[in-house]
């Protein structure tokens, strides 16, 4: 505990303020200014150049420029290479600059947000002026400007609610101030009191969001601080008028983290770009050693390469840009409701979309809509559908319930139904008034549903719950609340008369069903309903009631009071036992079925992606409830075997993980379907387990990945944002595949940055989108993004690469043939032609989607073509008075024609592009051969040949013959393929791409019943609410005082 914070003493912290100059920083306490920008006026140029020259391609071009400047070996003017390079560099630079400016604007907007700071009284200050030790007043719906220690709040017990959407999954969390500070500040609410806290000692800033250790030294005593006293930066205060907080960490944590991540992200992407481009340039360079046997002079390298790779580079950029435009233009990925088209924010990754091997997805807001709906319920053995699926826009207000149910209710005919709704309205831990806010979205949904049906939960005080039942307001006394835990998987409340003591209980079916009284009515029908609901992948809860005899209650409550006063560890088991005694002989009222609404088309998309060989992992901050979603979105197959951590651990520990894995798969029922085992195994993990193990044993990573590769899917629960990124890294480290992450919230940002990231432009804030490479509005658009655009991009680019290689080799070989005839003296016959050959026919080629042939075929063809391109003109011009410049023009003309004929797919644009390219060839030739240019620089434009050559019939005849001879094999093979396909009537020559078929291929088959227990995220806030039973009666306060 080395981090010391003194309340309200700026001068104390001031001299330790973090300062920085260039890259040196000193001091401990930073200010609260967000600085996510990279460049300043001074550092922009060196930094951006440094970054850009990390790309191998740029270095290579620079080398070329340098070589060009050596007059002895240069064959073309130096600026031919340097101009494209400068253009490339400056375009990138401006792009970076624009991004940085946007970040600056964003930062300054954040930095100037207002907040109330206590000086001698509360004054409004900006976020950036905050300092460690400041006491703040946070109002309702304000965002925490820093990490705060909650001192007190306007609510009873200094409770307050924070929404953690930005750093965690969306839900409300409870925070409670220390009893000591609460008592002090509520009894003497004054500014002096707020400023009077002495010292907070706590651990150094770290990125563990869920744990916190510290102590408050105040009035000579020492209080332990825990995570629940801390309000994290970025969270939003909800349902609480105001809260006072002491600043303990300023931005240092978040920004350091962000900066590190940013650096990693940038490093990763630049590395990735580097490997990609170096792969490309390697293709071009690789040919060199082979040539080097022939080539004597360096100038060949210049001659063969400068126009080519940079042209390649520029064309790649061009293709990428157009592909990203295509993504944005795609109507199928346009989302009407939010009016957002898809967006490719990073243009250079489009072909990697076609190679994705792993898809790591967030759950909440990505797979699901983050909206729960009560879809069905079964009351007294009768199933009432509340199917709202016909209306995708349905939310809170507009519900359509089964009319029979409403009728039954209004007539008060069925006591079970009434009881059922009472149970829903009473048995929960939902807190506030009217606008309910609950820690558990499930509860919120149930209470909401009850409200819609007339059982309105109005308010809650310490001992009473006020409910309006069909207009009649009733007050129930709350005697006890048996809270939810993940072990118990149920919760109950006891309520006082009107009509005797009642215990309402709701919980997972397995738990409730075994506690029912004998001969419980409707049990059969409810079980059938449960089956039905489970098949439909709904989260089910059983609701039950028990009438408790007065005598039993008396005795039970006495024992409870006794045991609550006992020592901690025993107390828990005792309470457990007591609760168990009470929750017996239940009468089953009914079953609810909640749907965690998936986004449209999610199961189909996941199934389709899995069919496409993409492994889908779901990483979620939720608890194991996510498994349910896993089933409903077809991530987990109903029959698949879930491999949990314990088992996995044993497998990993064993000598040969693979063997054990197979053994594990073949246990029990799997012995029968050995061949299916592979596809039907899924791993379910939780973040803490994963982290704990992999920190200890990093060598497990590889074997874990090799196991995971054999599993259908992996589901990771309770992972923090940082762990999400770690998992992505783990996958990237141990597989060669390209990973793609998709998420919608700020908590997914780390993950999204790790490799290809897709941001869902959903309801949560825009951070995910800002950091993503691609932004789409719906999860299902992924299938188009990956399977259509990704595949096209990949194929086009690989085809383009083949084609380019073919062309490059063709030209290089022409040089070599010429080299044979001029004594290997590096003739510049087609340096001229490669300069002139228009960039455009490549863009015309982009529509080409024929099946990519083997590289070797292309190379052989290139050899043939180069032979033809050279030796036919050579034969024609041998022993004549034609000069070499005419021959150069002839060869380049022939090459242009050949490439034009070579095109196999013809569209309007394609033909236009080809025509333009041929016309451009002539125009460019005339321009570069113009006398004007020669007069301005005789040494550079000495090629005054086209005027004469273009009217020479021999040149034309030679060029035409050469071109036709060059493409003859390709045209012939194409013609043969046409002829051979004639008999195959099914083959339709329709090159418009076949639409991606979206079929749902899964039958709703037999499924094992899965119980769910998604009542609360944590161990439940019942303890806090239920102050009558635990806080008052038991005299043990949660805050243990530690005397100093």
């Amino acid at each position: 505990l080395t981090w010391e914070v003194k309340a309200n003493s700026r001068h104390y912290h001031k001299h330790k303020q973090r300062k920085s100059f260039l890259c040196f920083t000193w001091g401990r306490y930073s200010d609260n200014v967000v600085r996510s920008h990279k460049y300043s006026l001074l550092t922009f140029l060196p930094l951006t150049l440094f970054e850009q020259f990390q790309r191998a391609a740029n270095i290579y071009f620079l080398l070329m420029v340098v070589l060009q400047c050596v007059p002895a070996i240069s064959s073309i003017p130096w600026y031919i290479t340097i101009i494209p390079l400068l253009v490339v560099l400056s375009v990138r630079g401006f792009k970076d600059l624009a991004g940085d400016l946007a970040r600056r604007r964003c930062d300054s907007e954040i930095n100037s947000r207002p907040c109330d700071v206590l000086f001698s009284q509360f004054m409004t200050a900006q976020w950036k002026d905050l300092c460690v030790g400041d006491v703040l007043r946070i109002r309702r719906d304000q965002i925490m400007p820093a990490d705060l220690l909650l001192l007190s709040s306007s609510e009873p017990h200094s409770l307050c609610y924070v929404e953690t959407a930005d750093i965690d999954e969306t839900n409300l969390k409870y925070r409670q101030a220390l009893g000591a500070t609460h008592n002090e500040l509520t009894s003497h609410p004054s500014e002096e009191a707020l400023g009077a806290f002495n010292v907070v000692l706590c651990e150094e800033p770290n990125n563990r969001l869920y744990t916190f250790r510290g102590q408050l030294q105040w009035q000579g005593e020492c209080f332990l601080l825990e995570n629940e006293h801390i309000l994290l930066r970025g969270t939003v205060l909800r349902n609480t008028d105001f809260a006072y907080g002491l600043t303990i960490y300023t931005i240092v944590l978040s920004v350091l983290l962000a900066a590190v991540l940013l650096a990693i992200g940038a490093g990763v992407s630049s590395y990735q770009a580097m490997t990609k481009t170096s792969f490309l340039s390697a293709l071009v360079i690789d040919g060199k050693p082979a040539y080097n046997g022939f080539l004597v002079y360096w100038s060949y390298i210049i001659l063969l390469s400068p126009a080519m790779p940079i042209a390649l580079y520029i064309r790649f950029e061009l293709i990428h840009t157009i592909h990203s435009k295509f993504i944005g233009w795609d109507l199928e990925m346009y989302w009407q409701q939010t009016d957002k088209p898809a967006e490719a924010r990073n243009t250079s990754l489009s072909e990697e979309l076609g190679q994705v091997g792993y898809l790591l997805s967030d759950k909440t807001g990505t797979l699901t809509q983050n909206r729960l709906l009560l879809r069905q319920c079964c009351i007294a053995g009768e199933v009432y559908p509340m199917d709202l699926s016909w209306n995708p826009f349905s939310s809170g207000g507009l519900r359509m319930f089964s009319p029979t149910l409403v009728e039954t209710l209004r007539g008060q005919r069925c006591p079970v139904t009434t009881q059922f709704l009472s149970a829903l309205a009473l048995c929960h831990t939902v807190m506030a008034e009217w606008k309910e806010q609950a820690a558990s979205p499930d509860e919120e949904t149930l209470v909401g549903a009850a409200r819609e049906l007339g059982w309105v939960f109005l308010s809650r005080t310490r001992d009473f719950v006020v409910v309006s039942e069909l207009g009649a307001t009733r007050q129930y006394q709350l005697l006890a609340l048996l809270d939810f835990t993940s072990k118990r998987r149920r919760m109950s409340v006891l309520r006082d008369p009107q009509g005797g003591l009642k215990l309402y209980c709701k919980g997972a079916d397995v738990v409730i069903l075994e506690r029912l009284q004998k001969n419980c009515p409707h049990k059969e029908s409810n079980e059938i309903a449960l089956e039905l609901f489970a098949e439909a992948c709904l989260r089910t809860l059983c609701v039950a009631v028990r009438s408790v005899p007065e005598a039993l209650w008396e005795q039970w409550s006495r024992t409870l009071a006794l045991s609550a006063a006992m020592a901690t560890c025993e107390r828990d088991t005792l309470l457990e036992k007591l609760y168990d005694e009470m929750e017996r002989d239940l009468l089953l009222l009914g079953v609810t079925a909640i749907e965690d609404r998936l986004q449209e088309g999610v199961p189909e998309t996941i199934a389709l992606l899995q069919e496409a060989g993409i492994r889908v992992w779901v990483l979620t901050g939720d608890k194991k409830t996510a498994v349910n979603i896993g089933y409903s979105c077809k991530l987990l197959h109903p029959e698949s075997r879930l491999l949990e951590w314990q088992e996995l651990r044993e497998i990993l520990q064993s000598a040969d993980p693979q063997v054990s894995f197979f053994k594990a798969k073949q246990t029990e029922l799997w012995a029968t379907h050995k061949e299916m085992a592979r596809a039907k195994t899924s791993v379910v993990l939780t973040g803490p387990e994963l982290q704990a193990e992999f920190e200890e044993r990093p060598e497990w990573g590889a074997s874990f990945m090799s196991l995971a590769e054999q599993c259908q899917s992996v589901l990771c629960c309770r992972v923090t944002p940082a762990q999400k990124a770690e998992i992505v890294e783990l996958v990237r480290k141990h597989t060669a595949s390209i990973t793609m992450s998709i998420g919608d919230g700020a908590n997914d940002v780390n993950m999204i940055k790790a490799h290809i990231g897709v941001g869902l432009a959903g309801r949560e804030g825009g951070q995910a989108v800002h950091n993503a490479d691609f932004a789409v509005s719906q999860f299902r658009f992924l299938q188009r993004l990956l399977l259509v655009h990704g595949r096209w991009s990949y194929r086009r680019i690989s085809l383009f690469l083949c084609y380019f290689l073919f062309k490059t080799c063709g030209f290089a070989l022409v040089h070599i043939w010429f080299g044979i005839l001029n004594g290997f003296s590096a003739q510049d016959v087609s340096a001229e032609s490669s300069l002139k050959l228009p960039e455009l026919y490549k863009s015309g080629q982009k529509k080409e989607l024929s099946s990519p042939r083997k590289l070797i075929t292309y190379l052989l063809y290139a050899v043939y073509m180069s032979l033809v391109l050279f030796f036919i003109p050579c034969g024609v011009f041998y022993n004549t008075d034609y000069d070499y410049q005419t021959m150069a023009v002839t060869v380049s003309m022939a090459a242009t024609f050949a490439v034009t004929i070579e095109t196999k797919y013809w569209t309007k644009f394609n033909i236009a592009a080809l025509c333009v390219s041929v016309v451009m060839f002539f125009i460019c030739s005339r321009i570069t051969h113009s006398t004007r240019l020669f007069q301005s620089s005789p040494a550079d434009y000495f090629f005054l040949v086209s005027e004469k050559a273009f009217i020479d019939p021999m040149v034309w005849l030679t060029a035409l013959l050469t071109a036709w001879a060059a493409v003859l094999p390709s045209v012939t093979s194409h013609a043969f393929s046409v002829i051979l396909s004639v008999h195959n009537k099914h083959k339709i020559h329709n090159s418009s791409p076949p639409p991606v078929e979206l079929r749902s291929r899964f039958a709703r088959g037999s499924s094992l019943r899965r119980s769910s227990y998604a009542i609360s995220q944590g161990a439940g806030p019942g303890r806090l609410i239920n102050s009558t039973t635990s806080i008052q009666r038991a005299e043990v306060l949660k805050e243990e005082k530690v005397s100093t």
Binding site: Q827, Y878, D883, A939, F942
Partner: protein, 339 residues
């Protein structure tokens, strides 16, 4: 009923065939009934062109005279190793009328005028008449930039230095007397070379421009004395110089020397005996080259060139053969399917 939204959002992507990548693609080759005739047609066209070329080429008359003189019986044998000025004559006969206009070429073999360093060894600025480069020629001319006394050479470089300097005269033996055939040296260079690329400095007299420079080491006389009779054929725009400076594409080449367009020879060279007198200066012995004189007339397609015609015929025949093979394959599949 939900009303269709009339206003399209500006964010909504355009629904065009291009943006949605639904452009209908059209393949030029659609079926066998198009492919096979197309191949036949193209083949026929190529064969036609080839035959035309071949006939045109065959009609061209060509007279080649090798005067390298490596055979001791050859009249020029004596000049082969002579360092003095040496003249030799060859006689030849033309059986039929050699239709005019007749072009007089000199030819060299195994001469790598396309060698890169050799070809680059010139200074385009200097040849453009830029006096700055007279004083300081480009280093691309090395080692023919300056002489041993460091005086700049104009025109510099290996290309100019190695200019062909044999001269020829042709006489017609008429009734035992030699009648000189007039050779026309005008207009043998390219228009662009004569008018654009090469230019004399605008100094009169021309000789003044060359003060402080030296002639190329191999040259017997400086460039401003190439043709003292005609100002427009002197200096850098001398036609022979221009022809030499336009480098040949391949190691075996010929270059235009003169045209025969005057007097009695406008319609060509009549049948009879002729004497070719050669002033033998240019050494080719060292690189195993050969020298020759070529007399030729031209057709619409230029000089004699059998290769192009044959190549056209070959490629055309290949197309036809291919179409036949295709037809066979097509028929085979057709029958196979009918079965």
């Amino acid at each position: 009923m939900v009303k269709e939204e009339q206003e399209e959002s500006p964010n909504r992507p355009d629904n065009t065939a291009f943006t949605q990548q639904r452009l209908p693609a059209w393949q030029p080759i659609l079926s066998a009934s198009i492919v096979i005739p197309m191949f036949v047609l193209i083949g026929a066209a190529f064969i036609g062109v080839g035959v035309a070329l071949f006939i045109a080429s065959r009609d061209i008359q060509l007279q080649e005279l090798d005067y390298t003189g490596d055979d001791s019986a050859h009249p020029c044998y004596k000049c082969r190793s002579s360092t003095e000025k040496c003249t030799c004559s060859m006689t030849f006969s033309i059986p039929n009328l050699f239709k005019g206009p007749v072009f007089f070429y000199y030819g060299l073999t195994n001469y790598f005028q396309n060698q890169r360093k050799y070809g680059a060894s010139k200074d385009d600025n200097q040849l453009y008449g830029d006096l700055d480069y007279f004083k300081d020629p480009s280093s691309s001319c090395d080692p023919y930039t300056r002489d041993s006394r460091n005086i700049p050479i104009v025109p510099c470089g290996a290309l100019a230095n190695s200019m062909f300097n044999d001269t020829f005269s042709l006489s017609h033996v008429v009734n035992g007397t030699q009648k000189i055939v007039p050779l026309n040296g005008k207009g043998i260079a390219w228009w662009t070379d004569y008018n654009v690329k090469f230019r004399n400095p605008s100094v009169t007299p021309l000789i003044n421009a060359f003060n402080g420079t030296k002639k190329p080491t191999n040259w017997p006389k400086p460039i401003y004395e190439l043709d003292t009779t005609d100002v427009y054929n002197n200096g850098f725009i001398n036609q022979d110089f221009l022809v030499w400076m336009r480098r040949a594409a391949l190691p075996d080449f010929r270059k235009l020397y003169r045209r025969i367009t005057h007097d009695d020879y406008v319609n060509g060279l009549p049948a009879g005996n002729y004497t070719l007198t050669i002033e033998y200066n240019y050494p080719v012995y060292s690189f195993n080259g050969r020298k020759k004189v070529v007399l030729s007339n031209v057709s619409w397609m230029g000089g004699k060139n059998d290769f192009l015609g044959i190549a056209y015929i070959v490629v055309g025949s290949m197309c036809v053969v291919m179409s036949i093979v295709m037809l066979i394959v097509y028929a085979k599949f057709k029958f196979a399917e009918d079965d």
